[in-house]
C-alpha cells in the first residue's frame, strides 16, 4: 500500500513526545482511511493497518475478525475514529503486560 502518511508538520519539533505520538496515531488512521467515507476505516483497511503498522503489537488486537464482526456485515462495516482508538488501546495493553505482572 503506497502510503505517504505521517508527513511531519512544520511545527512538529515544538510538540512534546505525547503530542507527536497522538498525531502519529491520528495520521495512521487517515493514511489508511482512503476508500469511501474518509472518516472511517473499512475492515480491510483496518486489517492492512494492523498487519503493516503493528507487527509487534498485533497480538493485542486479536481476534481482529471478531471485533470487525461486531461492527456489522462486511459491506457496511466501518470503523470510526473512536473505535480505531479503542483498538489501539488494546494494542497498548501489550506494552504494559510484561512488567506489570510479577
Amino acid at each position: 500500500m503506497g502510503c505517504r502518511c505521517c508527513k511531519k508538520r512544520k511545527d512538529s519539533q515544538e510538540l512534546t513526545d505525547v503530542e507527536r505520538a497522538i498525531e502519529i496515531v491520528i495520521n495512521n488512521f487517515h493514511c489508511y482511511a482512503v476508500k469511501g467515507r474518509k472518516e472511517c476505516l473499512t475492515p480491510n483497511e483496518l486489517k492492512d493497518l494492523v498487519g503493516q503498522r503493528l507487527p509487534h503489537l498485533a497480538k493485542g488486537v486479536e481476534p481482529l475478525e471478531e471485533k470487525i464482526e461486531c461492527l456489522g456485515d462486511n459491506e457496511e462495516a466501518k470503523l470510526q475514529f473512536g473505535e480505531y482508538w479503542d483498538i489501539m488501546g488494546d494494542a497498548a495493553k501489550v506494552c504494559r503486560e510484561p512488567k506489570g505482572k510479577k
Partner: protein, 118 residues
C-alpha cells in the same frame, strides 16, 4: 518497577514501527504520572490533580486551540463527577482519545482544504 526507561524494553523490540513507538509513548506517559506519589506501592491510577498537570505539560500545544481546550475542559469536568478519584489506564486512554478525536477531524478538514487549494 524500575529500569523501564530503556527504549523498546518491553514487548516491543527496537525495530518497532512509528505507530508502535507512538503507542508506547502514550503508555509510558501513563506510567510516568501514575507512578507519582506512591513509590513502592502497587501500581495505581493517575490522580486527578496529576492528570491536570499532565494535560498542561504534555499537551499544551494541542490544547491551545480553543475548540480543543473546550474538549479538555469538558473532560476534566467529567473527571470531577467520577467519584473513583483515580484514572485507570482505560479511562486515561479514553480521555486521550477524546482529545485526539476532534484533532483528527481538524486534520482531515485541513487535508481536504489543501486538496482544493492545490
Amino acid at each position: 518497577m524500575k529500569g523501564a526507561g530503556a527504549k523498546g524494553s518491553m514487548a516491543v523490540a527496537g525495530d518497532s514501527s512509528e505507530l508502535e513507538w507512538a503507542i508506547q509513548t502514550l503508555v509510558k506517559n501513563y506510567d510516568k504520572y501514575a507512578g507519582k506519589g506512591c513509590c513502592c506501592r502497587k501500581r495505581r491510577g493517575i490522580r486527578k490533580c496529576d492528570f491536570r498537570k499532565m494535560l498542561k505539560r504534555e499537551l499544551n500545544h494541542m490544547l491551545t486551540d480553543t475548540k480543543n481546550k473546550q474538549a479538555a475542559d469538558k473532560l476534566i469536568g467529567d473527571l470531577d463527577e467520577n467519584q473513583d478519584g483515580e484514572i485507570n489506564f482505560d479511562e486515561y486512554w479514553n480521555l486521550i482519545g477524546g482529545i485526539a478525536s476532534p484533532i483528527s477531524c481538524l486534520i482531515r478538514q485541513r487535508e481536504e482544504n489543501e486538496k482544493f487549494t492545490k
